[in-house]
């Protein structure tokens, strides 16, 4: 239990998927203008990333490896993730219209979130077990959501500051993202557990 707790903590802080591994930058920049939408994006990504990590593990260990098809990994993972996202979208739409209202528009976007594919591929590379894969997917998603929401908070504040015209909007956001990554370097090498 203790080991799993520290696994999640280290994927959230020390190996943060956005600020340390630089995956999932498109939604990080794209959906961080407002805190409210970043929260929706974070929840949807957490949902999908955890499921995708689990599904990718099953695909890898029950299909690709036994059949010697490891070279099809990227293709197969993309297919499964895309199908999974569509499936999740359909289910949510039918079962919980309220949740669909919150997550709906973000779900198709996640298909192209490289963090989802990246985490699945990293898990396959490390030959992690099922629980470990799923938890590292969950941890990566938590880390993604955390920095996305925090970044949105800083950007909301920047929107009302007197940033020089040439740097307003995207440039200062990229600089802020860089400083966030610099701050997260402080966690580097932290031996947890």
């Amino acid at each position: 239990m203790r080991e799993y707790f520290f696994l999640i903590l280290s994927t959230v802080l020390v190996n943060n998927v956005v600020l340390v591994k630089f995956l999932g930058l498109c939604p990080f920049m794209g959906v961080s203008r407002q805190v409210s939408s970043s929260v929706g994006m974070g929840m949807a990504t957490t949902f999908v990333l955890t499921l995708a990590a689990a599904a990718a593990w099953m695909l890898e260990n029950w299909l690709l490896l036994p059949l010697g098809l490891a070279y099809l990994r990227i293709l197969a993972f993309i297919l499964v993730i895309a199908a999974l996202v569509q499936f999740v979208e359909l289910v949510i739409k039918k079962t919980s219209p309220a949740l669909y209202q919150v997550l709906g528009i973000f779900l198709p976007l996640i298909t192209t979130n490289c963090a989802v594919l990246g985490v699945a591929l990293l898990n396959a590379q490390e030959k992690a077990g099922f629980v470990r894969s799923t938890l590292s997917g969950f941890g990566a998603a938590l880390g993604f959501s955390l920095v996305l929401v925090l970044f949105a908070g800083v950007r909301e504040r920047l929107a009302v500051s007197k940033v020089p015209a040439a740097f307003a909007g995207a440039p200062i956001s990229f600089m802020t993202a860089g400083l966030l990554a610099l701050a997260f370097m402080g966690f580097a090498g932290l031996q947890l557990g």
């Binding site: 929401v149 800083v154 500051s161 402080g186 090498g189």
Partner: protein, 343 residues
């Protein structure tokens, strides 16, 4: 005799800034006594670069240069950065760091009062990430220095990188107390033996503890002058102390005493001059307690378990990210209303 109305005058910004700079003087003086003239050279370099960068940015942004330059905020940033880097570091280090702090972290983010991150600490973090070798080369305090290091030799070392005899920095280098503990433990030297070396005093580093006391004195002056409130520094120091106590209590053979962690590294400077920065810390009482408390825990964890020699700078800029949320979600109820603004 004064006449009514007796309206309290808020302290003008420049007087406030100069009071903070003044409060740095005891620490700066002790640091100069301990490490030599190099400290003042670094401060002078940083102040010059900060003023030049500030003037250039104000000019580019079409702000009146003179009044803004006189507010003292750039000088303060420069002093804080210069006091946190090694006194004999090469001159371009502090120049680059100050330029990043004032130019990038302050002015590109909107200038005075608008920057979400602490400029001096970002400058420090950028330097230690980019130039870890130069940033961890501390000289021994003069009292413990192996080679004769007069003022000329120190200035030569800063600007040319070697002593007049041709010897490099290694002739005067010495690990800081925190580094000595870290490397000593890696070599499996018992903690008691490490702490027994002349590098250490009763509280922290033999020389560093007096510098920390200098900052403590300056901080108390700021508190007495009502420039800072007690909440941020006390919670920060308390949090470092409690976290260190927890580790010390779990394994006193491996973790140094909580007192050492208060008086070593940047804890005192951070508590009274960095964490209390009014621009980059939360404004609500509860927000301040959360901010300083978490910063203290992170500072200890990064210092003891992380890759870097000290954790204060990183912990502060990590907590800077959270400040907009703390400000928003810890607002106290307006008098006469329930929380959330309802009557």
């Amino acid at each position: 005799m004064m006449t009514s109305p007796f309206v309290a005058q808020p302290m003008p910004l420049n007087r406030l800034m100069y009071r903070v700079i003044g409060a740095l003087l005891p620490g700066m003086a002790v640091a100069t006594w301990a490490f030599g003239i190099g400290v003042l050279v670094q401060v002078a370099l940083a102040v010059a670069v900060a003023l030049a960068t500030e003037a250039w940015c104000l000019n580019l942004r079409r702000y009146p240069v003179r009044p803004y330059l006189a507010d003292g905020s750039a000088v303060l940033t420069a002093c804080l950065l210069a006091l946190s880097i090694p006194p004999l570091a090469p001159w371009w280090l502090v120049v680059l760091g100050t330029f990043i702090a004032v130019g990038f972290v302050k002015h590109l983010f909107g200038g005075l009062g608008q920057n979400p991150f602490n400029p001096a600490m970002i400058g420090f973090a950028a330097l230690i990430v980019s130039f870890p070798a130069q940033m961890s080369r501390w000289a021994a305090p003069l009292a413990l220095a192996p080679a004769d290091l007069d003022a000329v030799a120190q200035i030569g070392l800063i600007f040319t990188g070697h002593l007049s005899s041709g010897a490099g920095f290694d002739a005067v280098a010495s690990a800081t107390p925190l580094d000595a503990i870290r490397t000593g433990l890696l070599q499996r030297i018992p903690l008691a033996d490490i702490l027994g070396t002349p590098k250490f005093g009763a509280l922290g580093g033999a020389a560093q503890q007096w510098i920390a006391l200098g900052y403590l004195l300056g901080g108390l002056f700021l508190w007495q002058q009502r420039v800072i409130q007690w909440r941020l520094p006390v919670v920060f120091l308390g949090s470092v102390f409690l976290t260190a106590t927890l580790f010390y209590w779990a394994n006193p053979a491996h973790y140094a005493s909580p007192l050492l962690h208060l008086f070593a590294g940047g804890t005192m400077l951070g508590a009274f001059f960095i964490v209390t920065d009014p621009v980059t810390s939360p404004t609500t009482p509860l927000g301040q307690i959360i901010f300083a408390g978490l910063a203290g825990v992170l500072a200890y964890l990064i210092r003891v378990l992380g890759n870097f020699p000290d954790g204060v700078a990183f912990s502060v800029i990590i907590m800077n990210i959270v400040v907009p949320f703390l400000d928003q979600y810890t607002q106290p109820a307006v008098f006469g209303r329930k929380k959330g603004g309802r009557a």
